[in-house]
Every structure is written in C-alpha cells, then in structure tokens.
C-alpha cells in the first residue's frame, strides 16, 4: 500500500508538469498581452497610457523574455509560493486570492457535505421504496435540481427572498465585515449567509447524486450477498447499511477527484449572480482581461486540486475495498 501511494505521488509530478505547460501555452496563445489590451483600452477611452510605466512593468515581469524562460520563472515561483503579480489589481496574486480561497474552500466543503447529507438518505429511501409515490416525488425533485441552471436558481431565490421577506441574500457576509479581520461576529454573519449559496450550488449535485445512489443501491440489493445477510437474520436496514450501502460507497469515493474541481470552478456564474467573495468571479475577470499570472496560477491551482482529489479518492478506495488493496495488478 505504501509503495502504491509513493508511486501515485511520483506520477503526479509529470502530470502537473504537462498540465502547467498546457496552461501556459493557452495563456500565451492570444496575440496580445495584458499591457497591449490595457493600452488599447485607454486609447479607446481617449486617454494616454503611461508608456514608461508599461515598459517598466514589462521589463520587471520579464514579458520581454522568450516564452520558455518565462514559463520556468513562473513555475519556479509557483513552487515557492510566489504565484506572480496581478497587473489589473496591482498586487501579488497570493494576496489577492488568499482570502477568497479560504471562502471558496469553505463553500465547496460545505456544499459537498450538504450534498451527501441530503442525497444519501433520499437515495436510500428511493432505492428501498422503488416505484413508490415517495420515490417518484423525490426523483422529480432531483430532476428539477439537475435541470435548473444554478445561476437561474440563484436569481429566483434572490427575487423571492426579496419580495417575500425583504431580504438581500447576496454575498457571503454582511457588507460591513468586508476587509475586516475575522471575528466572532463576522463568522456568525458568514454562517448566516453561506447556506443559501451552498444549497443553490449543491442542488444540481444533490439531484445527480440521488440518482446514482438509487441506481447503485438497486444493483447491489439484487446481489446474492444481501440475501445471505438477511438469511443470517439481520434486519433489512442493518443488512442494507453493512453490505449494499458499503459496496455502493466505492462509486462515490472514486468520484471525489471529480467533485473537488467542479465545485470550485463550476459555480462562477452563481458566484457572480450572488456576488460571493469566492475565487470564481476573480477567475472569470482575469480571463477576460488577460491578467495572465492571475489566470494561469489559478488554473494550475485547480489542476493541483484535481490531481490531489484523484489521489485522495484512490487511497481512500484502497482502504475501503480490500480487492483494490490486495489484488492490485495481480490479475492477468
């Protein structure tokens, strides 16, 4: 098992290397860079950009150097924790992202948690009461969750919250806490706000997950070992939890890797609509304005998250399923 983990970690290095090269290439592809866009924008507004400052910055950040050299400088910095400098916000990327990243991770984590907490009981109920009215109703709700785009759901919720309760539910905290150090009041404000984006962002995921839990469990409930468990005298619920549910967990653990990045990056639009202080809107803006270090570091960060997520799910699967742990590579 230890050898397996070491091998997996080693494989991550070339994977991330190739990914970073790809990201860098994509960032380099547009014929212009941030400063040219900036100068053009200024010109369009009838103002003259400070060309000497532009030249200075270009030199300072090595934009006049060949791409290969710039790539390695970027990567070297990334490894040391220096993610580069955002031209648009005129501050280091790490300072810019830091706070928002914390919020993003908080939102994502709570979303995953909420998704599972809601989806598992519903999925189990649907599978054990297949084709009952409860099953139909819950399936219908789940399908609604999948079918309605997040941002639309966010708009609808915002509208009704305003019309019915006179509430403004945007943001992750009360505006007066912006740029304030963390305090008990701030934390309370965050908790009061966060459940709405969590539910909205989680709606689609919950629907999908209910469907998969139901399908997986229905498969497992047909299996002979479930009959064996009942023939032993176990009550149906205990047997269900110990055997089929345990087996269907495999499926979810192996999907942790996919869940992490989609929740971080998949909710930009919702975040914009709800004006959340997460990283989503930042990434969107960075891509629009060709703020290349901000965008590039961001994308690379997402890739790291994906690779780490897959690693976690593989290791967890190894612990969960002895067939993975003990038989790996032994077949054929």
């Amino acid at each position: 098992m230890l050898r397996y983990i070491v091998r997996r970690v080693l494989i991550m290095i070339p994977t991330l290397f190739i990914t970073s090269a790809l990201i860098f290439t994509v960032m380099e592809l547009p014929p212009s860079d941030y400063f040219e866009t900036y100068v053009a924008e200024m010109a369009a507004q009838g103002e003259k950009a400070d060309m000497s400052r532009v030249e200075f910055l270009k030199k300072e950040y090595g934009l006049d150097k060949p791409p290969v050299e710039r790539y390695f400088r970027w990567i070297a910095g990334f490894v040391q924790g220096d993610f580069g400098y955002s031209f648009e916000y005129e501050m280091p990327v790490s300072d810019l992202v830091g706070d928002r990243l914390l919020m993003t991770i908080l939102v994502s984590f709570l979303t995953i948690l909420a998704t599972w907490l809601i989806a598992f009981p519903i999925g189990i109920y649907s599978a054990t009461h297949q084709y009952s009215w409860g099953d139909y109703g819950l399936t219908f709700l789940g399908l609604l969750g999948i079918a309605i785009p997040h941002f639309l759901l966010a708009l609808i919720v915002m509208y009704f919250a305003n019309v019915w309760f006179g509430l403004s539910i945007g943001g992750l905290m009360d505006p007066k806490y912006f740029n304030q150090p963390m305090s008990w009041e701030k934390a309370q404000s965050i908790l009061a706000h966060i459940w709405i984006p969590v539910l909205i962002i989680g709606a689609g995921g919950t629907g999908t997950m209910v469907r998969s839990i139901r399908a997986n469990l229905l498969d497992e409930l047909q299996k002979q070992y479930y009959v064996t468990a009942r023939a032993k005298g176990l009550s149906p619920f205990k047997a269900l939890v110990k055997y089929p549910l345990r087996m269907s967990l495999n499926f979810f653990v192996s999907h942790i890797g996919d869940v992490l990045p989609t929740i971080v990056s998949g909710s930009e639009l919702t975040a914009v609509v709800l004006s959340l202080q997460t990283t989503g809107p930042l990434l969107l803006r960075a891509l629009q304005s060709q703020d290349m270090y901000l965008a590039g570091s961001f994308l690379l960060f997402l890739s790291c998250l994906t690779v780490i997520g897959v690693l976690i799910s593989d290791i967890a699967l190894g612990f969960l399923d002895p067939r993975v742990r003990l038989q790996g590579g032994a077949t054929k």
Binding site: K223, Q224, Y225, V227, T228, A229, R230, A231, K232, G233, L234, S235, P236, K242, Y243, R246, M247, L320, D321, P322, R323, L326, Q327, A330, K332
Partner: protein
C-alpha cells in the same frame, strides 16, 4: 417408538407460491407437501425452474419481493424447545420472530459461494456477525468461537483465515466458510441450496463429506436442494422429486432409486450419463423433440486408429502474467496430442487445469508462447500458430467453437437469423438468399423450428440457445469443432438432448470434436479418447475404456473416485477422497509421478501416462 420415527423439524403442507410478473400471478409451487425429520437428510431434487429454490426461500422468509405464498403452511418445530410447531407463512416479513429463526435455528447456504459472501468484509467478520445476532458473546469469546468453527469446517489456519477476504480463498474454502456461517449458531435445520454445483468433483466430494460429518455432530436436519442425482444417492435418507412445482415422487432413498414409480424420475435416471454405458448406447432424454436423423448404429468407433490425423499439437505452452517478474502462471505446459479425423477427443480436468486455454490456443483466440498446431485436412498442411493475419481469416472456417454459456455467447440484440448468418457474412459465402436458405437448413439440422428465424435469443430456453450456438458453429462446414463445456450450464434432460444432437451431427457430417469438460460422465459418453489435465499438463491420455477401467495416474484415480454416482450400491468412498490435500497437488502423488524427468510412458494401445522417465510399465500399473 420415537427412535424409529423422529419428530419432524420441518413440515410443509400444501404449499403454494406464486410470482407476480406484469400484474399476473404465476404459480411456481403448486401444492407441495414435504417433511424433514430431525437429524435426517431430505433431498429436494429437481431441474431448474421446478420451484425447488422458491420453497427454500419461503421457508427462510426471503422470497423475492414479487413472490407470495398463496396457500399452505410451513411448520417449523424447534427440537430444543417445547412450544410445538410454528407456522412460518403468516409471520410478518422481516419481523422479529422470523429473523430469530433465520440464521439462528435455520441456517442456509447458497450455490455460488463467491457472490454469496460480501467481497469487502473478512469471512471472520461475516461468520461472527451471525453468532453475535443470535448468541451474543463478548468480543474475545466470539472470536474464539468463530475460529473454532473455521477449524471445524476444515480451515488449516483458523486464526489467519479469520482475517481473509472471500476473493483470497478457493471455491471450496469459500463454501466451507459459508457452511461455518450457517452452522455457527447450531441450527436445528440446514437448508443447502445446490451446495456443490459450482465446485470441482474432488472438492465437491470433500464438501459433501464435511456436511455429513457436521450434521452428525450438531444433530441437525438437512434439506438438500440439488439437481444432481449422484449427490442425492450419496447424501439423502429421503428424496422428494419435484417437477413443475409438484412433488412427483417421495420416499426413502432406497425405494426411490431402486423402484422409481413416476415416469419423470425414471426418465431422469435414464437421461444422466454414467460410466457403465455401452458403446453406442444412447441417453434417453426427456421431452425429446425430434427422433435422431442418423441411425445410432452408424457410429463406428473402433476403426479410429487407421483414420488420418487431422490435428497434431506439439509442445504447446502458454503462460499468463509476467514471467520475468515471477508473477506468471503456466496455464498450458508442454502439451502434445493428436486428433484423428472423425474422432472425439475429450479433455477433462478441474478448473484452472488449462483445458479451456488449449481450445483457445488452437483457434488462436489467444496466442501461444511456443509450440506447433499442425492442421491437415488432406488438402495441405498448415501450422495454425504461424499463419499470417489474412491467411488466418481464410483458415478460420476449418475450426469452429461451441461455448459454455448459451446466454452470454449469443448477442441479445441479434435475431437467430443474424446470429447464424454472421460467420457466412464475415467469410463472404454466397448471396443473401443463399445464406438464408443455409440458415434454415442449419436450424432444421439442430432441431430448431425455422419459423423462429426472426426471434431473439431471450425467447429460447437454455437448451435451444445452445442449439443456436451449434448451428452457428456449423455454418461454415468446419472440420474440427471445439466444444468448450457445451452442456455444463444445462439441466440433465437438456444435457442429454444436446449430447445426442452432437453425436448425431458428428455421424452425419463427419465432424471431429475436441470436447472439453469437467464432467467425467459426459466425457465418457462423448469421447473416443480422453486426455486428463492437471496443472497445465496432460497427465494421462488413453482410449475411453482403458482410462475408465484401468486409470494409472493418481490424479485420474482421484477424479474418478470423487464422482458421485446415482447408484446406491456404489457410494462415494469418502475416506479415499479426503486422503490428503488437493487432488492436483503433486505432493499427494506417488514418487513415480513427480520429479523433473517426467515423460509420457507408453502403456500400450495408445495409453500414455506422465511419469518418471526411469519407470517401467509394470511399476506404474501396479
């Protein structure tokens, strides 16, 4: 008085069970009455679909959701208590009372030990769970009891076995673990649903012996559900034969075997192949559809020696896995044999002996590591293993295959017409109309009604599907047909039909068969010569009668001794079967058959046995 008639542990009275499909009730058990006396073994015998499994499920209260008991009573009397009989039928499904019986007073084992055990829990965990449910213990004691149970059912290292997962165990050990699970609470009744069907014969004999011993020790009653008359004859005190949801014959095993009354049982006894059959004697199958087209007497057998060689296999080798890293297993190890035109060569061996791989290598479904497969149909000699891709495609019609599983070997999305025509399409034989005529002709040949041309495989029974597979194999007029366990998925009566069909086709079309099977009786019925395989090698090859009358190799002897025969006068010699370890383990063979200098010693008349080079014929036969 009570000694002669022990009280009934289980008494089933006029039981009716129906399954609901598409809103319709379909009765599968139609008024069955049955009793299982304490400490005795009752065999419930029938073919698949006869309703025998539904009865056992009803006793346990674990019928599938669409199954309902529509009438009758299931009375369970616990000999350990004195509160009289309890009717299981009206008990609430999954209620407390029925769960107390399940696993506690009535144990059950299932056919497929792999899928019946959870793959992600250790066997110790799963066995101990049953114990804790019904006879709660503290953890240490529970573990000790579980380990002693494991030792009881034959695990050599019970402490280590506790932490093993089912996939780490062989089929026989898995079934032992199942038994331990069912018996750990010392139930009054054990229901064993086809306990040995998935096992090799030598393992089967060991498990049967184990069940007998445990039954005596625990003093429980045993309801044995099986379709194997050999198992019935060796295990049962009483027999109940069931057909179409009705008990057709019931009584002490002596009466039922020596003097069967019902035509169904008489017919079944005739339908199963056995070793005493004369050459040319035919199996009489139940519900035989068509009379044989070819007269039986045309089966000429003795003259095979003069016939030309069709296939010559030399030094065939195949290794799975990585040899250099030391993880490889040798599946086929230096195998050589000949097949003459028109004969049937049988290959027998237990699972993992490499017999199926040989068929795959000859057809080049898998590639061999080394060796030669020389094919000569009189129009030129080819080495099949060296054919370049394009010539291989042209050569393929000469060798065709019939597969084991009639369900998965036919595409469910193709009609019978498409399935049988496909080989002709691939080989571009004839026009579309010609092909269709040929398909109709083939269906007629294998006993299928050509009106079913446009049906899909799912609307046919297992035996009919196997006929489709046979028609497909014959579509290109092959010289050699490799039959890989063609009847092992079929019931006895179906099996008889298919075997007879294969024999008739061989006679009328002049086919040559390579017949691979684990069932010695079936190979005995089909083959002219038989090769016995163990651990990838042919340990003995001989004409049929020589092999069965004078087996020389210890492995062959053990195999033959382990086959349960449906004959009360020849019970299994359990002591012999249990003697030391796995039959295929060379350490259990006498020294003549071990060592590095093994060669095939000729005993005359084409009887060869794998033995030490220095051995004389006389030492071996002695």
């Amino acid at each position: 008085m009570t000694k002669t008639t022990p009280p009934d542990v289980l008494r089933i009275e006029d039981l009716r069970i129906a399954f609901q499909t598409h809103g319709e009730l379909n009765e599968v058990v139609r008024g069955v009455s049955l009793r299982v006396p304490a400490g005795r073994t009752v065999a419930l015998f029938g073919e698949s679909g006869s309703g025998k499994s539904a009865i056992s499920q009803a006793v346990m209260g674990i019928l599938p959701k669409n199954g309902v008991v529509t009438g009758g009573r299931i009375l369970f009397t616990d000999p350990a208590k004195e509160n009289g009989a309890l009717d299981i039928v009206p008990l609430p499904r999954d209620g407390k009372e029925i769960r107390h019986l399940r696993g506690g007073r009535i144990g059950m084992t299932f056919q497929e030990p792999m899928s019946s055990l959870s793959p992600v829990h250790t066997i110790g965990d799963q066995i101990e769970e049953a114990l804790q449910l019904h006879r709660p213990q503290n953890r240490k004691q529970a573990r000790a009891m579980t380990e002693s149970m494991l030792e009881h059912v034959g695990f050599r290292d019970p402490h280590g076995a506790y932490g093993r997962y089912p996939f780490e165990l062989s089929g026989g050990l898995r079934q032992r673990a199942m038994l331990a699970m069912a018996l750990i609470c010392h139930p009054a009744l054990l229901i064993a649903d086809e306990p040995t069907t998935a096992l090799d014969v030598t393992i089967q004999a060991q498990v049967l012996k184990l069940m007998k011993d445990l039954q005596r020790e625990i003093g429980m009653a045993l309801l044995l559900i099986t379709h194997d008359l050999g198992v019935v004859a060796n295990m049962a005190d009483e027999v109940a034969a069931i057909s179409n949801g009705r008990i057709v014959e019931m009584g002490p095993v002596q009466d039922v075997f020596r003097n069967p009354q019902h035509p169904y049982l008489k017919a079944l006894l005739k339908a199963s192949p056995h070793f005493e059959m004369e050459e040319g004697e035919r199996l009489v199958s139940l519900r035989d559809q068509a009379k044989p087209t070819a007269p039986v007497s045309r089966l000429v057998k003795s003259a095979s020696a003069e016939k030309p060689l069709l296939l010559t296999v030399r030094n065939l080798r195949k290794t799975y896995g990585n040899v250099r890293r030391g993880t490889g297993t040798v599946a086929v190890d230096d195998v050589s044999f000949d097949i003459r035109k028109g004969e049937c060569l049988g290959i027998v061996g237990e699972s993992g002996s490499g017999k199926t791989t040989i068929g795959n290598l000859i057809t080049r479904a898998r590639s061999a590591d080394s060796g030669e497969v020389i094919f000569n149909d009189g129009n030129g000699v080819v080495d099949v293993l060296k054919l370049p891709p394009r010539e291989l495609v042209e050569f393929r019609p000469h060798i065709q295959m019939i597969f084991q599983d009639p369900v998965s070997s036919l595409s469910p999305r193709m009609t019978v017409l498409d399935i049988i025509r496909e080989p002709m399409l691939i080989q571009e034989r004839g026009s579309s109309a010609n092909q269709k005529d040929r398909v109709i002709e083939l269906m007629d040949r294998v006993g299928l009604d050509p009106r079913f041309l446009n049906r899909y495989p799912h609307s046919f029974s297992g035996g009919q599907r196997q006929r489709i597979g046979i028609a497909r194999a014959l579509a290109l007029n092959p010289d050699l047909v490799i039959c890989d366990e063609p009847v092992s998925a079929l019931d006895v009566s179906m099996q008889a039909q298919i075997l007879n069909l294969l024999k008739d086709l061989q006679a009328s079309l002049g086919l040559t068969y390579l017949f691979v099977s684990h069932n010695l009786a079936v190979v005995h019925y089909m083959a002219d010569r038989i090769a016995v395989m163990a651990r990838g090698r042919i340990v003995e090859i001989a004409p049929r009668n020589a092999l069965f009358r004078n087996p020389v190799h210890p492995y062959t002897k053990r195999l033959l001794a382990a086959v349960p025969v449906p004959d009360l006068d020849r019970p299994l010699d359990f002591e012999k079967v249990m003697a030391g370890g796995k039959a295929s383990d060379p350490m259990t063979w006498s020294e003549y058959f071990r060592g590095d200098e093994l060669t095939h010693v000729d005993l005359g008349n084409g009887h060869l046995v794998l033995a030490d080079r220095s051995c004389g014929v006389r030492e071996l036969v002695a």
